[in-house]
């Protein structure tokens, strides 16, 4: 069974997975109300019932759920609005969504038709062999001088130098601040001072950046580059660089 067709019966939604995804992306279903744990458990139930692991579908599922988790965690951060991602009016959104569902459906039907056609094709085989050597090497040496235009080479190379515009195909993966950026930021601060307060490290930053900085902090802690103290919940966090020697010893 295809992942997209997998039926879910959740508190807030009942229907195929691809409809759920599309509804979420168009904010027709509020992701904050969707229990992703429930989605994952339903999927695991489905896998168990099926008795075999479809690696491709499962990979697809993990990627999608990871993307949904990221989107949901952003939504849960107060003040982080998704307005910029939802530019369409409700009526427009429905038409756009409808068009996309119909398009997806059209090619799903087409692929089913191809599958039937393949099953019904005559059970013959065709030869797959290279040309015999005497025919393979075409006598390019007899071809006229200047058969091809050298400008075509320059043009082909020029085409390869072109950078594509950034096509934003996935609303879910819009990353405005990256963990590696924040890691670099923390390292910079810790080179200047042995100790830094977390509030100072994120002074003036928006909530998204604060959240990502916490990921960066965890990553650097894991690598043994720093440690921190927090005396009480919601209290001041003091970040401290680990001595180089200690870092080396950890490796």
């Amino acid at each position: 069974m295809r992942l997209a067709e997998l039926e879910f019966d959740l508190d807030v939604f009942s229907g195929p997975f691809d409809l759920l995804l599309t509804l979420i992306l168009r904010e027709e279903v509020d992701l904050r109300e969707v229990s992703l744990a429930e989605v994952v458990i339903s999927y695991i139930d489905h896998l168990e019932a099926r008795g075999e692991l479809d690696l491709e579908a499962t990979t697809e599922f993990i990627v999608l759920v990871a993307a949904l988790l990221e989107l949901k965690s952003r939504l849960l951060l107060p003040g982080e609005e998704l307005d910029e991602l939802i530019e369409l009016e409700p009526g427009e959104a429905v038409e756009e969504l409808l068009a996309r569902l119909l398009e997806a459906r059209r090619y799903r039907e087409a692929s089913a038709q191809l599958a039937r056609r393949l099953a019904g094709a005559p059970k013959v085989r065709y030869r797959e062999a290279p040309l015999p050597p005497e025919l393979r090497r075409v006598d390019l040496e007899d071809a006229p001088v200047g058969l091809w235009d050298p400008q075509s080479l320059g043009r082909a190379l020029g085409g390869l130098l072109a950078h594509p515009p950034r096509l934003d195909l996935s609303h879910v993966l819009v990353a405005r601040v990256s963990v590696s950026e924040r890691i670099a930021h923390l390292r910079r601060l810790l080179r200047k001072a042995v100790e830094v307060s977390f509030d100072d490290a994120v002074a003036g930053a928006d909530r998204m950046t604060v959240a990502v900085t916490i990921f960066a902090l965890l990553e650097l802690y894991k690598r043994g580059e720093l440690s921190w103290d927090q005396d009480e919940p919601f209290g001041e966090i003091t970040v401290r660089a680990r001595p180089r020697a200690a870092v080396g010893a950890l490796r």
Binding site: A104, E109, P122
Partner: protein, 193 residues
């Protein structure tokens, strides 16, 4: 067997792709009528059940194929099934390429809603699709190949059914629209509370 019939048989044996009557005429220097006669002769010689090979008309041309009766022995000798079956992702990707060609990988990904890298790579490996230049954004475009037509026993792409066949009736479409609008209203209702 006539000399022309023999030449045609040899050409079909050597060519990895089906050869059209026009190409055969040009290569052999024979006239259309003469060539039609040779093809008829060859078709009789290679009629199913007579030899190990059969003459087939597919993908806009003529080609030789093994007779299905040899399938078990062929599988045993070559050690692989006649055609590795295609996964749903590969079939869907192939359907999109077949109908929209030339089409780029990002476009396929947009329609399928998931990355198309792995099915595209497999279809390329199996020779079912091939490159067809680049889009204005520099993405490689893909088209189907004669291998695709052969595998699916199609004379040409025109033999693919019109995709509009599968579009829902206006009633179904209206129902879907209502369902989506209702979902939107429910969402708006929650937000207003």
């Amino acid at each position: 067997m006539s000399e022309l019939g023999r030449t045609v048989e040899a050409l079909l044996f050597l060519s990895s792709e089906p050869v059209s009557a026009e190409e055969l005429e040009e290569a052999t220097g024979a006239g259309a009528l003469e060539l039609a006669g040779a093809l008829l002769e060859l078709g009789e010689e290679l009629a199913p059940g007579r030899r190990g090979l059969i003459l087939r008309e597919v993908a806009g041309g003529y080609t030789l194929a093994s007779d299905p009766h040899a399938e078990d022995a062929a599988r045993s000798l070559l050690g692989r099934p006649r055609q590795g079956s295609l996964t749903p992702a590969q079939l869907e990707t192939l359907a999109i390429v077949a109908y929209l060609q030339p089409v780029s990988r990002p476009e396929i990904a947009r329609i399928r809603g998931v990355n198309a890298e792995s099915p595209v790579a497999t279809l390329l490996d199996r020779g079912l699709i091939s490159e067809a230049g680049r889009s204005e954004f520099g993405a490689v475009l893909y088209k189907t190949t004669p291998v695709f037509l052969k595998l699916f026993d199609l004379a040409s792409l025109e033999d693919l059914p019109d995709p509009a066949t599968w579009d829902p009736t206006p009633e179904e479409e209206g129902e879907l629209r209502d369902r989506l609008l209702a979902a939107g209203d429910a969402r708006a209702g929650v937000a207003a509370e």
